[in-house]
Structures are given as C-alpha cells and as structure tokens.
Amino acid sequence: MAEVHIIGQILKAVDFDEPHLYCKWSLQSGNAWRLVQGELQGQTHVSSHRLQNSSDFAQPLDIHLCTAAIQGWPRLLVEVYAVNVLQQCWPVGYGFAHMPSTPGAHRLEINTWKIAPNSWWQSIKERFGGGGTALHKTDLLYSGVERYKLLTRSSGKIIVELSLIFRKFEEYGVEFK
C-alpha cells in the first residue's frame, strides 16, 4: 500500500482585483486512490488584507491518501470567490495544480483564471452589481475537452505550501531521490 501524506496550507491569494475573497478547494485523484484520513474538500473563510493586495487564508491541509497506481495523481482544485457588501459572491478564479511528485516541502503557485464577460453589459454588471460568470460544470477546471469554448481572463494566484511524505512507493519500484 503506497501512501501519500499531504500536509500544508493554502497560504494566500494574491493579485486578485477583489478585496474580499474566499477559496473553495478540493483534492481530486484517480480511481486507484483512496482516502485514508483527512478532508478532501473545503472552503476557507473570507479574508482581506488592509494594505496589500492579498488575502491570507492559512487553510490547513492534512490529507492521507493511499494508492494502487500512479495514474490519477492527486491535484488540488481551487475556486476563488469574491464577496461584496451585499453578501453576494461570484467566482473570480479557477485553477488547479498537481501535487508535486517529489517528497519534501513545496511552494505551489496556482495561477487562476476567470471567465471573461462576453458583452459590455456583462462587464458593467460585473463591475457594479458583482457576480461574474461561473462555470456550470466544475470538471472544466481540470479537463481540457471543452475548454476551448471558454474565453477567460487571467486572475490572481493562490499560493499553497505543502510538504509531502511518500511511503512505500519503493516497494513498487517508484523511488524518490
């Protein structure tokens, strides 16, 4: 039983235009992967920074997975949402990153994108009323099949700090140097 411990935190979101942000995250993996312990998805608090253009989440991750295959290597999907005064929220960033395949400490920067408004009216609406366009299916986040239909705009970054521990991969001929 090869095991992976993912320990770390979703540190912060930087370079987003909107001040109040929260982040929905989920860890996705293939069929051969099984969760042993921990939470596979979650949502951070709403956060804003007074001075900088960053929102600190410091959302802890502690996931223990075990696997029977390399296929379907876990990946972290993030969706960043902005909140306005009216307690309305809309997505301002989608992104994902594969877990690094080497043990040790890592700092991941997940570049995110959001759906571009496709009309003048929508851009106005987004600016004032809040509420951009959200993905109908979240599998667009990671699958490239229908992505070409999207018109997106790049958004900020999510910074994730992780340390990974791999166990017993060497039993199956996978070695980490």
């Binding site: 039983m1 090869a2 069929n31 051969a32 099984r34 969760l35 042993v36 312990q37 921990g38 223990h64 075990c66 696997t67 029977a68 295959a69 390399i70 296929q71 005064v85 009216l86 307690q87 309305q88 809309w90 609406k125 004032f128 009323g129 809040g130 509420g131 166990r167 991969f169 199956y172 996978v174």
Partner: protein, 1335 residues
C-alpha cells in the same frame, strides 16, 4: 526544348481569354522559376512569361479546351514516358463537382499474393536492344531504368514497345542527366484507393479488410435421412422427393427442348452450307467450306447424341419416379399408416391426334435415320480411304464393312424407344400435392411411445457464435420445418465459413445434445438468393448414446454487400494456397501460419474459448502498482479507513495504527474479527424479542417525534402570514445588477439591514416534561379499602404456635372479648398502603382487618427523573413476629411486610390530568400463598345483598393529586394534510361551531379529524373496520391479547391524547407499543371482525387519562358490556367500579355520537345512542361518515421468537437481582418447589382468559400449604406483558419479597411465558419464600 518553345508560341496565338492571376501569385511563381532556372539549365532560356503560362496550364488544364492540342505537344515527353491514353487525367483535377474519372475496366481486379507478381528489379536487361552495339556496357542503373519503362509500357497495354527515342536517350552512354529532371511528373493511377482504417491488431488476429456485408440466412427445413425413427417409408418418400425435385428442375429448364431447337438450327445451318457448297465453285473456298461443313455436321451429331441422352435421362427419371411412387403407395397401404406427407398426382393426357403424332414421330425418325445413316456412311468412306491408303504399305488388313441400313435403323429405333415416348403413349404430368395434415395417419401406439424430439440449430460464423434458432419439433416424416430467417450485418471481419451445429433439445434436462456440424464456405454473391442444401452425417458411436444421423438442411443464403459501391471498390484479395504461405512465412512468422491453420479447420464451439488471446487489458490497469482489491484488503488501510469513518466502536478510538503491516497482523490476532464486521450481534447479545420490543419502541418514539415536529412546523406556517415581498426578495437573491445596487444604496443611506431576514429553520425541540416540572408534590388521600385478603390459617396458626411456644405469654391479646377474637380469627390482616415513585416511598399507618380505613394523606415529593416509571400504590400486610430470647426481658419484634397488591398510575397521565379520585380496583395476584379471600360469612352475618360495597376484589377509595400539574400543549394537527374531501372538512368545521354551543361540557367535543401514523388527518370513523384477528377467535382471548400490548409510557407526549396520533393496526402490531387509546381501537376492530355489535367510547379513564373503551352487545343476553382494553376486563354499564370516569362520545363505523347528557357519571349515563336527547350524531344523511381505508386488511401476524432462552434469562435475572438486593444475607434458592409452581403457572394463563375479570380464589395456595405443612409459605404470582428485563426486576423490587430477615428463608422462583403472535408475551412469575418451621 524547341518543341516546347514553338508550342508556347502557338498557344499564345490561340489564347482568347487569359486566366486571371493575382500579382502575388505571379511574383511567387516568378521567384520559383528563377530558382529553378538557377539550379538547372532546363528552363534557362525560357522567359518568365512562358513559365507562368505553363503553371497556369498546370492548374487550369481542363477548362482550357482549345489548348488541348497544344498541351498534347507540350507534354509529349510525358506521353513518351507515361503514354497515357487521356492526357487530361495526367493531373489530378481539383474539381469538386465532378467525380474523379476512373477507368472502369480496372475495377475489381483479382489479386493474389504471390512472388511472381512482385517485380524485383534486376541488372539483366529484359528487352533486346538491336541497334546498339555496346549494349553490354550499359550501366546497371540504365538497365534498371530501361526495364522499368518497359514494364510500365507493358502494363499500359502499348504492346510493350518503348519508343526508340526514349531508348536512345536512356542508352546514351554519357547521359546521367535524365535522372535530374526539373519537370514535375505525376504518374497516373486510374484507380482510386480509399483509405481504410484498421485498428492495430496482432498479425495473427488480422482478419482481412473491413467492409460491411450482410448475411441473410433463411433456414427452410431440416430433413433427416438417417435417424433412429427412420422407416422404409421415409426413405422412399425422400428418394421420391429428390427425384421429383430433379425432375422438376429438368422440366423447368426445358433442357430437351432447348437441345432440340439447337439441333434443328445446327441441321439447318449444315443444310445451308451443303447447299452453298454445291453452288460455289472456287477451289480454295470449297475446301474451306468443306471443312466448315464437316465441323457443322460433327456439331449436329454431338448435339443429337446429347439430345438423345438427355431425353433418355428424363424419361428414365420419370419412370423411376413413377415406380417409386407406386412403391410408396404400396408401402403405405401395407403398413396401415402414413408418416410422410409426400403425395403426387398424375395426369395422363392421351395424344389428341393420334395420327398426327404418329406421322410427326415418323418424320422425325426418318430425318434422324437419314442423318445417322449418312454419318455411318461417312465413317465408312473415311475408313475406307484410310484403309486404301494403308493398303499400299501394309497388306494385311480387312476392308471396313459397309454399314447395314437395317442394323442402323434397329439401333436407332431402340434408342428412340428409350429416349422418346411412343406416339400412342399418353403424356404424363406430375404434380406434387401440397402437404396436408389430414393425410397423416398416426402410427401404431407402440411406436407412439417415442417422445417428441426437438431440434434447434446454432449458427457460427467461423467460431463466432451468431444465433440460435428456436427449437422445432421433429415431424413424423422426419422433417423439421423451421422457416426461420435471420440477418447478420458484418463489419470488418469476414468469416470464411458458416458452421451450423445441430442440437437436439432434451426433454428431460435443460442440456441439449450437440449432434452434427454442417459447414459451408461463405462467398459473396449477387443480390439474389442461392438455395443450398447442406448435408450432414454423423456416424453412430455406440448405439445407445448417439445413433447414426444424416440429413440435409435446406437453406437460402444471401450474402452480399449492403452498399454495392464499397464491394466493387475493393479488390478481391484471395489467400494464397497454404503451401505458398508456408514458403512465404516459414521462417519469419510461424505464429501466423498456425493461426491460419487453426482458423481453417472448423472447431466445435465448446473449445473456441482457449483460442482467444488474453483478455483486453487497459493500459491503466497494467500500469497500476497493485490491484485495487489488494489495496482494499490491506489491513492497515482497513483500520485507518474505518477509523476515519468513525462507524466502528473499536476502531473509532484507535489512536495508534502501526505503520508496518506485519505489526498489524499481531493486532488482528488480539482483537476478534467481529469488531470490524458487526458490533451488534442480535443473536447473542440481544435477545431477538428484546430487540423487537426495543425497535418497536424506538419506532413509535420516532414516529411521535416526527409527527410532532411536522405539526409544529405546519402550525407555524399557518400562523405566520406569507411574507410576500420578502419571499420575492429571497427569490431575487441571485439577481444582480441594478436592483442589488439599489438595495446597497438603500442600506447605505437609510441604514437598513441589507441582509434579508431569513426564516429560521425549525429545530425539533424535544417536548420534555422534565424541563417543565422540576419538582412535584404528590399527595395521596387514602380513605379505605375493602376485601383485603386475610392471612390463611396456616400463617395464623404459626403465629399462635410461636406465641404458645413462647410459654406464658404476657400479652393480653388473647384474653379479649369473643368479638375481638372472632375478628382476629378471620380478619387477622394489618394492611397499610405505600405510595412509591422511583426510590421514594411513603407509607400509611397500619390498619386492622380486611376492610381497613386509613383516612390519611400520604405526601411524596421528588423529581420526575424518568417518566417511564409508574407511580405505585401498593398494599402491604404488616406481620409482626415476636422473637423471644432466653431472657424474658428482651423481646425482639420482627416486622415482615407481605405484598398483597398494587395499583400503578402512569406518571405522564397523572401529570396530564392532575388528579385521580374515586374507587380503584387494585390488581391482586392471582395466587397469593399464605392469604385467602375474606369470606363474607366469616366477617359478618349480614347477607351479601345488604353489603353492597363488598366485592370480591380489593377496592381502594382514594384521592390522588399532583402539584404542579403539567399542561400538555395539544398537538396542532390542524396544519397537517387532510385526506378527507374538502366538503367534509367544511362540514366538520361548521358542525364543531354548532356543537360547542350545544354541549354541556365543551371538552366533550373530540375533533373527528384525527392524525394517523402517516401524518395525515382522517375522520375517526375510518378507524373502525374489521381487521384480521391474531389467530384467536374467542372474545376473551382477543381481549387478553389486546391487553398485553403495552402502552408506551415515557414522556409527556401530546401524541397519546385524542389530538395525537392514532396508529393503524400495522404500526401498532409491528411495534407492539401504542398509546392507551389505540388499544381501544384495535379491540373494537377485532370485535367487529368477530361479528359483534360494538362501539368505541372516547372518554376519561382512571389511570390513563384520555382513553378509549369499547362497548359491545353480548350476543347471548343482549346486554351492553363495557370493556377496558388495557386490562381486558369487562364491566356492566352500571358498575360503579368501572375505571371509565367520563364519556365524551361514542364512535361507530357509520357515525360519531357526542354525549350531550348533563350527567357525568358513567354508571348513570344512558348508552342508547339512538336517543336524540342523550346523544347527538355528528354526521347526518346529508353528509355521510367516510369509512375504512386506514388499516391494513391483509396484515399477516408473525410468529413469536423462541421463548426458552428468554424464560431462562428472566429467571436468572430475578435470581440475580434478589441475591443482589439481599445484601446482608445469603440467598438460598430452593428448587424443589419449582416444578410445582410451574404447573400452577401454566394453568393460570388459561384461567385468566376463561375466568375473565373475576377474582376467583383457586385452590392452589391451600394445596401448596397442605403439601408442605412444615414450612411457612408466602408467595404470589405476577403477570404482566413482557417489555424488557429491567421492567420485571422493577416490578419484583416493589413487592419487597426480598426483605425477609429470617435467617432460614429460602426462595423459589418460577417463570412461565405464554406467547401470542407478534412477540406479544404474557409473563407469569411465581415468587415464593419458604421459612421452615423449627420445633
């Protein structure tokens, strides 16, 4: 080059319209040409203008019609090379509208994979070069080039001639330039190939080019020609059939007629030729003509011979047919039955004109004779000629004989007779009659024994199973008529063979036997059907197992390509013969050869499996580290996962899971495997009955809770008006834009709260009364009791004996008056009353006699820790036992309290109804050892009639109240969905308003729409309907059964009231828990199904509060009797001891009658519901009461579980508890009494049901006392419905039998369980304390 140049000139002159080209195109073209001219010298002298024209022509060739001639010259060089017939096809035209031109003759070539077709370039020159002297010093590449052009010329059908110029050019010794040619050549292939995608597949499995083909099979019939049931008749009939088919085929094809016509033509031609030869004189022509005539004559002869043969054959066939038919008929007649269907009808047509036919025959014969004679003569002359020529060289030879005309005529006549019919002979027409079932006569009975045989076919294409026909019965004529057609659409793979297996379906087992294989190669045919006859044959293995079988299958095979184009597009690629294949692949691909071999031989379908190469493996699986199952079976993973899920008690708390698997193995050994699988094992840990009771209780609680919360929610919804605008706002929550902006502005400016107030979701709050009632104060005013049992003589004697034995007693008791002694004699009981709740107890003073008066108030304060417990009013007898020690001064008194009876009041009902008062009947043990019923004669001299209060049971006058009471908020069932019609609801609403004016006591109105266990409101009358009985048909037994269903007593629950939930029979009987009112409904329903006239009474009863009773009319006497469903006791209507205290209304199945009498006492109430002054019907003719539909009418009772285990459990529990309670002394258990007690108990259940409510004193106690005179016995029986073990021990604890301080006391316990259906158990416990008498 010059040629090209002048062609361009001529072209330019002829050019009328120029194709427009863009500037950029011209520019690039010029650049390209410049580059070309730089690198080669070919186009060096050509100007750019010309090159542009060339390129134009290149691309726009076809539409420049007038330039065709120029192009011919222009491309002459290419012509020389390619020598294509159509120049326009030299280029691939980019013309989308027209289909590409393809030479039609090249379609569907036949290819063979063969070495001979492969062209291997060699260094040897293939063509002779005549004009070149130095042919030998041609360079190898020149030779190869020449060969190549030669081959190409051959292929193009130019006679394999190369033009001399080309040869000269090629053989030019110093020309190596012809390879470097800047001109763009395109070789022409008239064939258009279509791209075909083949999935990558190992070579062994490659099956050929994919096309789709359609195979249609029409299975006509199967005919057995060898079969165990095969008879002579079958053989004949089949032969006949075949003959007939052949004959009909011949007749249809008209071979004879055709031959005859041909012969006639040939004769005519010959005659004409001979005629012409006589006219024409020229020598050389005549010789040619003679040869021609000779040939023609030979042809005529051959035709004639063939004609004769055919005709003979047909005639013979006909004759055979007729003889066979005669034979068959004869056979059928002989064997008295007919099992084949074949029938022929003959029609004889005599020649119409005998003379004409005779003359025609003669004419023909003569013509033939003349011809034959001439031929013979010719042969003779020929031989003669040869002979005469040979005569010169060889002398010894006979001259050929001249043909004899008579002989020839005779032979011809014989031949004629054989071949043709006589002129007088009538013509025979044969016709096969259609099958007719009536012609079949059944066989003799001894052969009828053979069962019907059924056959079916399985079709395989190569080895692939395709289809299976239905099974068909074998007809007596050994035909299996199928007439089944099926179509297979084949994509990709093209099977080579069609294999059909014949199966015989077994009549006994489901297996069927494979019999024979028929196979035929599949070939693509035209869209027409080919009829085939497949024969099969199976040799007999051993006579019993497999008989010899043979037969034919008639089928139509239609194998074609569904879209003709595709099939014609693709060449037929045939396999090379096996031997050639072997030579090809011998060393390289041995695998393929074997595979081909395997495929070539048809296999039985059973062993088809092993040929299939390994299963399809997804790459993902191959790349896995280990199987998923292996991962899931990992012990460590299981532990971690179950800990994560938090479901398992054992792994939930696990703080340490070892990292290595071998450590876990030890761990696994330590803890049993069960902890992972199942924590709760119902078989060992829980008694199934306990589980049932527990679950039933849980179910009921859940039901009550759910309905309560639902009610509250609905009521709340009804109360609050709909917040329209807010709801609208809620709906617009998603909307963004200006409205949101406006709201934001508003919130900023006016400080309004922007967040919309949301409806808080209702949290189900447990209606726990313990929150409400913190402290309560129960006060019991005990007034008096009657009929307290007295100590039996036995105990009395003992006491006296003790006293007497204590020598000179100073006590003055005995020296009292006669009256006193009399009283003492018979009413020697000192009863007192205790009031207990939980651990608290309060007792009254002791009174004397069997009709004591206390008139005392008992107070009990406490907290209702758990409303599950009952408040108990117990009756005890205080026995003071004086112990005398040696010193006279020390007198010890030992007080012994003997429990005589009790009365239980559910705490919740007490809290709800605040107070109970009046007279109650204590529940006394059926057998009370040591005591006996007070005899009225012994007490007083007054007759029974004048002593009205004296009853045979113990009654207690009391007043019980509780402070503070608890007002149960009634369930707001009004909000629940109503199953009744709106008119009815409206009617009920109006009626309620009406009635509330009319009623003397407004609480008597019971809302007729009640809530069922489904959470819907229905009319009360629907609840009354006959339901299935629990295997009991006796009224007493049914009452007993109902009384044993236990009313749930837990929390103060509004669901138990009339406003609460009314269970249907299924919910009640499945859970065996209910509220008191449901018992009445059930009992009433049972009585209805027993056919009794009965009503349901809604009212107040003493220990239950709101409760239902049942009134029924006794069938024998016609009296109305009141039944208490909770106890099963019956009361007269006038009985003042009836626990029913108030009557609100009476419910019948048809109507609800509401009590409008001012009289409140039940005993004085008029129960005549037809009396309009006393009872007011709710429904009238205008609005009938709805009926039925609530109960489950096909309810099936379940058998109770095994009881012996439970009996042991109870017994053990009681013994353990009593031993535990007697902390100071050791408890001895006497088993000697047990069988005796058990016998008594087993009789008691019957007694209790048959004797009804009467407090009969059975003779058991006296019997016991008589049997054991040396012991002082005290004991009693207890009877209750089984709920759980804790309840039993609680009941026993209240009897205080364990408070026996006598050192020598021994106890005995016996438990008997009487089971009804659905785990309704009546538990009988006999407890006995034995004190042996010493001295």
């Amino acid at each position: 080059m010059e040629r090209e140049a002048d062609s361009v000139k001529s072209k330019r002159s002829k050019k009328k319209h120029k194709t427009q080209t863009t500037r950029s195109y011209r520019k690039t073209e010029r650049e390209v040409q410049m580059l070309l001219s730089q690198c080669g010298k070919v186009f060096g002298q050509q100007d750019s203008q010309e090159s542009e024209a060339r390129s134009l022509q290149f691309f726009h060739y076809s539409d420049a019609n007038e330039s065709a001639a120029i192009s011919n010259r222009d491309k002459q060089r290419i012509d020389e090379v390619a020598s294509s017939p159509n120049l326009a096809a030299n280029f691939i035209q980019i013309e989308l509208s027209e289909p590409p031109i393809v030479s039609p003759q090249l379609h569907r070539q036949l290819h063979r994979y063969d070495n001979s077709f492969l062209y291997t370039p060699g260094d040897r020159l293939h063509l002779p070069l005549q004009f070149i002297d130095g042919g030998s010093d041609l360079k190898p590449y020149q030779i190869r080039m020449l060969n190549r052009y030669l081959e190409e010329a051959k292929a193009n059908g130019n006679g394999g001639k190369l033009s001399a110029g080309l040869v000269a050019q090629l053989t030019d010794s110093d020309s190596c330039r012809f390879i470097i040619d800047a001109t763009l050549y395109r070789s022409n292939c008239p064939r258009l190939f279509k791209g075909v995608f083949l999935a990558p597949v190992p070579f062994a499995q490659f099956q050929g080019l994919p096309t789709s083909r359609c195979l249609k099979l029409c299975l006509k019939q199967l005919r057995f020609s060898a079969h165990p049931q095969f008879l002579e008749e079958h053989r004949l009939a089949q032969q006949l059939e075949d003959l007939y088919d052949l004959y009909m085929h011949n007749v249809k094809n008209k071979i004879c007629k055709k031959l005859r016509e041909e012969l006639q033509i040939a004769r005519n031609v010959a005659a004409r030729l001979i005629d012409s030869s006589s006219h024409q004189q020229p020598q050389e022509q005549s010789s040619q003509l003679a040869a021609h005539i000779q040939r023609q004559l030979q042809l005529t002869q051959q035709l004639r011979i063939r004609y004769y043969a055919e005709s003979t054959a047909q005639r013979v066939l006909l004759q055979r047919l007729l003889t066979q038919w005669a034979k068959l008929k004869e056979l059928r007649k002989q064997q008295q039955f007919q099992c084949t269907r074949f029938r022929l009808s003959l029609r004889l047509v005599p020649p119409a004109d005998l003379d004409a036919s005779c003359s025609a025959w003669k004419e023909r014969f003569e013509a033939d004779l003349a011809e034959v004679y001439r031929e013979h003569l010719e042969v003779y002359y020929h031989r003669r000629h040869i002979w005469s020529s040979e005569q010169s060289s060889v002398s010894h030879a006979k001259p050929p004989r001249k043909p004899q005309f008579a002989e020839i005529m005779e032979s011809l006549k014989a031949e004629y007779e054989r071949a043709f019919q006589d002129p007088e002979e009538p013509r025979v027409y044969l016709l096969r009659l259609p099958n007719d079932e009536t012609t079949l006569h059944s066989r003799p009975s001894n052969e009828q024994l053979n069962p019907d045989r059924n056959y079916y076919l399985k079709l395989y294409l190569d080895d692939q199973f395709v289809a299976q026909t239905r099974s068909y019965r074998l007809e007596p004529d050994l035909h299996v008529d199928m007439n089944e057609s099926l179509g297979v659409l084949l994509n990709r793979s093209h099977p080579e063979q069609l294999n059909i297996w014949l199966y015989e379906k077994s009549t006994i087992t489901s297996h069927s036997r494979r019999l024979a294989l028929m196979s035929t190669p599949l070939k693509v045919t035209e869209r027409g059907k080919t009829v085939q006859k497949l024969a099969f044959q199976v040799a007999a293995t051993s006579a019993a197992v497999r008989p010899k079988l043979a037969g034919d299958l008639y089928l139509h095979i239609d194998y074609y390509c569904p879209d003709g184009a595709i099939s014609s597009d693709l060449d037929d690629i045939q396999k090379l013969p096996e031997t050639v294949c072997q030579t090809f692949r011998a060393d390289r691909l041995p695998m393929a050869a074997t595979a081909a071999e395997v495929r070539a031989t048809p296999r039985s379908p059973s062993d088809a499996g092993h040929v299939i190469a390994g299963p399809l493996i997804f790459a993902e699986q191959q790349l896995q580290l280990c199987g998923i199952a292996e991962l899931l079976q990992n012990r460590r993973f299981q532990l971690l996962h179950s800990r994560h899920q938090q479901r398992n008690f054992h792994t939930k708390q696990l703080s340490f899971v070892p990292a290595l698997e071998h450590e876990i193995v030890e761990l696994e050994e330590l803890e049993p495997h069960a902890n992972v699988a199942q924590v709760l094992d119902p078989g060992t840990v829980w008694n199934p009955i306990d589980l049932h009771k527990h679950r039933g209780r849980k179910f009921l609680h859940l039901l009550y809770e759910t309905i309560t919360s639902q009610c509250v929610q609905r009521a709340k919804l009804l109360q609050t008006p709909l917040p329209l605008i807010q709801l609208l706002g809620d709906g617009l929550e998603q909307s963004t834009g200006w409205s949101a902006l406006w709201r934001a502005l508003c919130s900023l400016l006016f400080g309004q709260t922007a967040a919309l107030p949301r409806e808080p979701t209702w949290q189900p709050q447990p209606m726990c009364a313990s929150d409400v009632v913190q402290q309560f104060n129960i006060s019991l005013q005990v007034v008096r009791a009657t009929g307290v049992p007295v100590r039996s003589r036995h105990i009395l004697n003992v006491e006296q004996q003790v006293r007497r034995s204590s020598s000179t007693g100073t006590s003055s008791d005995l020296s009292a008056s006669l009256f006193v002694t009399q009283t003492l004699m018979y009413s020697n009981v000192r009863p007192f009353i205790t009031l207990s709740y939980g651990q608290r107890l309060c007792r009254s003073r002791t009174a004397e006699g069997s009709n004591p008066t206390w008139n005392e108030q008992l107070q009990l304060t406490g907290q209702p820790n758990d409303l599950r417990e009952d408040l108990k009013i117990s009756l005890f007898d205080e026995m003071v036992e004086q112990q005398y020690t040696d010193e006279a001064a020390d007198i010890y008194q030992r007080v012994q309290c003997n429990w005589l009876g009790e009365y239980r009041v559910p705490m919740s009902s007490l809290l709800a109804s605040r107070k109970f008062e009046g007279c109650i009947e204590l529940s006394m043990p059926k057998v009370l050892v040591g005591y006996k019923r007070p005899l009225i004669e012994s007490v007083t001299n007054i007759s029974v009639e004048q002593y009205p209060e004296f009853k045979e049971s113990v009654h207690l006058w009391f007043y019980l109240s509780i402070e503070p009471g608890c007002q149960v908020t009634p369930l707001q069932i009004g909000g629940l969905a109503c199953a009744e019609l709106p008119e009815l609801q409206q009617f009920v609403r109006e009626r309620r308003l009406e009635l509330q004016q009319l009623l003397p006591h407004p609480q008597r109105y019971v809302e007729p729409l009640v809530c069922t266990s489904h959470g819907k409101r229905v009319c009360l009358t629907r609840l009354l309907e006959p339901v299935p009985l629990p295997n009991e048909t006796q009224l007493e037994r049914v009452c007993r059964f109902v009384s044993l269903l236990s009313p749930v007593r837990s929390q103060l629950d509004a669901c138990q009231n009339f406003q609460g939930v009314w269970l249907d029979n299924q919910a009640l009987l499945d859970s065996t828990w209910c509220s008191a009112k449901d018992l009445g409904v059930l009992l009433c329903n049972y009585m209805l199904s027993l056919g009794l006239e009965c009503w349901l009474v809604l009212g107040l009863a003493c220990p239950y509060g709101e409760c239902t009773f049942v009134i029924y009319r006794q069938p024998e006497s016609g009296d109305l009797l009141l039944v208490a469903p909770t106890t099963g006791k019956r009361y007269q209507l006038q009985d003042i001891f009836c626990p029913l205290t108030r009557v609100y209304s009476i419910v019948a199945a048809k109507n609800i009658y509401i009590n409008i009498q001012t009289e409140e006492r039940v005993s004085m109430t008029n129960f005549d519901v037809q009396n309009g002054e006393c009872w007011l019907p709710l429904f009238n003719k205008r609005q009938e009461a709805p009926q039925c539909g609530i109960h489950k009418l096909d309810y099936v009772y379940k058998r109770s579980y095994e009881l012996s285990q439970l009996q042991k459990h109870i017994e053990r529990k009681i013994m353990k508890k009593i031993s535990a309670w007697r902390t100071t002394r050791k408890t001895f258990w006497n088993r000697a009494f047990q069988p005796h007690l058990l016998r008594i108990l087993s009789e008691l259940e019957n007694l209790s049901t048959s004797a009804g409510s009467r407090y009969d004193e059975p003779a058991y106690s006296e019997e016991l006392e008589r049997e054991y005179p040396n012991c002082r016995l005290y004991g009693f029986t207890m009877n209750f419905a089984y709920t759980n073990l804790a309840a039993i021990s609680e009941r026993i604890r209240t009897t205080c039998i364990h408070y026996n301080n006598n050192a020598d006391v021994e106890f005995c316990v016996a438990v008997h369980i009487n089971a009804y259906v659905n785990d309704v158990l009546s538990v009988w416990v006999f407890l006995l304390s034995i004190v042996p008498l010493v001295g």
